[in-house]
Symmetry: C2
Subunit: 383 residues, 2 copies
């Protein structure tokens, strides 16, 4: 009965060149295996303060209300919506892939009045379209900066101002884009921003940085009802992270101590490298990958180069091929993960992610070599 768990743990080595999780560099892996300390020890508070500073830099913000969730990007999503929206209030969600769909689902469940602005995967939203935001009098407008399911990087300049004009909070998802494409939380008037640990930050999945500015804090700390989740209630999380100005941190939940060690190191690596250099590198390696893909006769899914997400590249599925078969072939013969679409983009694209630590031309070469091999060996005979 128990024979399976009494066998040694087996973990194969994989090139994680999908949309995440990405490979974790040795320094980050090593930090996650340090002997743990208590979640409420003073040294842990120091590490949490370091994480906060690292997020400030990565998000380009000075917001005091900056923490990491004890959970994946979805925990940050639910935290953002649960805390800033009350049942019956209107929200507007821009949907051009899976992330908007998810936020809409989350907002519907907690009783918000959900309005949707929908485009097919690959489409982006113009500021003129977003100007109509006011019509529904939403308290929150959601947009994914890195729409990884389509490989799109949505421009955000000017949208924060539109939201302010309409007295609406601007919530932005940068799970797949942070560290890979420029974002300036404060300068761009983004009210709530979150990301994940397992993309360009290269930490294991399980933590998710999130930040709220004063406008967002004003809304979430002056609500009439309690957020529906105790675990994700920012009143408690802000105390746990030392953001509420109180001298004593009360026990709320037990944070993932090892996960916070790893997140600290991944943020430190980004700070050492520098954001400008990280953005430049992602753009350079992505451009190199685009050329290689075109040389293989493959078609980039997002025609406009400036709208492509540098961390996750999407290609149209080549004619005469079954995308599932190609992915299985690449995994089997190259120990390499690439993936298909996600949510609305399933069956439309294949995705190649070269993020953070993985973002090197040598890795682009490996990915191109694997794709060339699959193109040679997976061609369907005509029916």
């Amino acid at each position: 009965l128990l024979t399976c768990i009494l066998r040694p743990l087996e973990v194969p080595y994989r090139y994680l060149f999908g949309p995440g999780p990405s490979n974790v560099p040795p320094r980050v892996l090593a930090s996650g295996s340090r002997p743990i300390i208590g979640h409420l020890h003073p040294e842990m508070y120091e590490i949490m303060n370091d994480i906060k500073k690292g997020i400030h830099y990565a998000f380009q913000t000075e917001n005091n209300m900056t923490i990491a969730m004890s959970g994946s990007g979805h925990a940050a999503m639910e935290c953002a919506v649960f805390n800033t929206v009350e049942p019956g209030e209107s929200v507007l969600i821009a949907i051009n892939g899976i992330w908007g769909e998810r936020v809409a689902e989350i907002a519907e469940r907690m009783g918000a009045n959900v309005h949707k602005l929908v485009k097919a995967p690959g489409g982006h939203f113009t500021n003129i379209e977003i100007e109509k935001v006011g019509k529904h009098k939403p308290v929150l407008f959601f947009l994914a900066h890195g729409e990884s399911s389509a490989g799109l990087c949505q421009p955000v300049d000017g949208i924060g101002d539109i939201c302010r004009k309409h007295n609406c909070l601007f919530l932005v998802d940068t799970v797949a884009s942070l560290g890979a494409a420029p974002i300036f939380m404060d300068k761009q008037n983004i009210d709530i921003l979150y990301t994940g640990s397992q993309k360009a930050l290269n930490a294991p999945p399980g933590t998710a940085p999130i930040s709220f500015n004063d406008r967002a804090c004003h809304k979430m700390f002056n609500r009439k009802t309690k957020p529906v989740s105790y675990l994700f209630d920012m009143t408690h999380l802000s105390n746990y992270w030392g953001c509420d100005g109180k001298a004593v941190r009360a026990y709320h939940h037990t944070g993932p101590v090892s996960g916070f060690f790893a997140l600290r190191e991944s943020l430190a690596i980004l700070a050492e490298k520098g954001l400008e250099e990280s953005w430049r590198k992602h753009k350079e390696v992505a451009a190199y990958l685009y050329r290689g893909l075109e040389d293989l006769g493959l078609e980039l899914f997002i025609p406009d180069k400036d709208l492509r997400l540098p961390s996750v590249t999407t290609i149209s599925i080549p004619e005469g091929y079954d995308w599932r078969e190609m992915l299985v072939y690449i995994m089997k013969h190259h120990q390499m993960e690439m993936t298909g679409g996600l949510g609305p983009s399933i069956g439309m694209v294949m995705r190649i992610g070269l993020m953070g630590y993985n973002c090197e031309k040598t890795n682009a070469d490996k990915a191109l070599h694997a794709l060339a091999d699959a193109l040679k060996n997976c061609k369907k005979s005509k029916a």
Copy 2:
């Protein structure tokens, strides 16, 4: 500005002899630093299946609907309540410490009609008292098996039958007791059981095993409303964990891959040692600790030996001492964590936890030596 995060990560070594997290053994730490694979790779499914088998053994259940949450014990708490209770339904919560208070708070937020059965910390509930459960027609009755804030191990025999008679689900918290005190989910007719990773299992915090039997599944999969959290919705989590019989697992959220490696190894260690031996050892070391504490003139907070939680021992705060000062002294001079009370037991007790890997007489000796030293050096001069 960034100097703090550019310094090397510093993590001191600590004896974690509080109520958790406990020290993590080298094998479990090492597994958490293995290079990661994708959360939806077939090898990851194997590891998740191993975890499921390990939970089956630890919980003494054969429930198909057995998973690990991507979060701490509070995530399991919210998952249990969110999925099995609908807004407006009645629940009854036994409160004799912090855990019942937390479940009541969670149930109130999601709109349940919450009834409470309250005792002072240290008190336990008799089956005769629980027989009155039917009065409120609850759909769920909550009880903490390991009430770590008071050091109490609540008997559960017969309560499952009472709940069945009243058509009510029986939810039990074993975060602090699993592996330390006997629990038999199936034999004891427990409908929903959860635990944490960071107590007697000695994995880092961040994962939480939970299991639902057929009665619980019938209730949660025949509800009229969707659970308020998408992230904790068992419809999706059961698919992610391969419990719903479907051939394909859809993307729901990204699980903490490294955390699952560590949880697998911690469950494997328990399976290798055996539950009987683990229970025996905790009882033996606890009895040894009790004698040593009494020799120091300290008073055990739970008078009845049979009601003491073997993993977490509570002592009354000795007269003439400030408990905070003692704890700070022990941390400073012995690099050892002990803690005060929690929630309603704050100011009433001090707590010493010797759990799993830490559960050795040599560690009890270290704890007693540190306490003796603190008793010698922290005595208040009479005012």
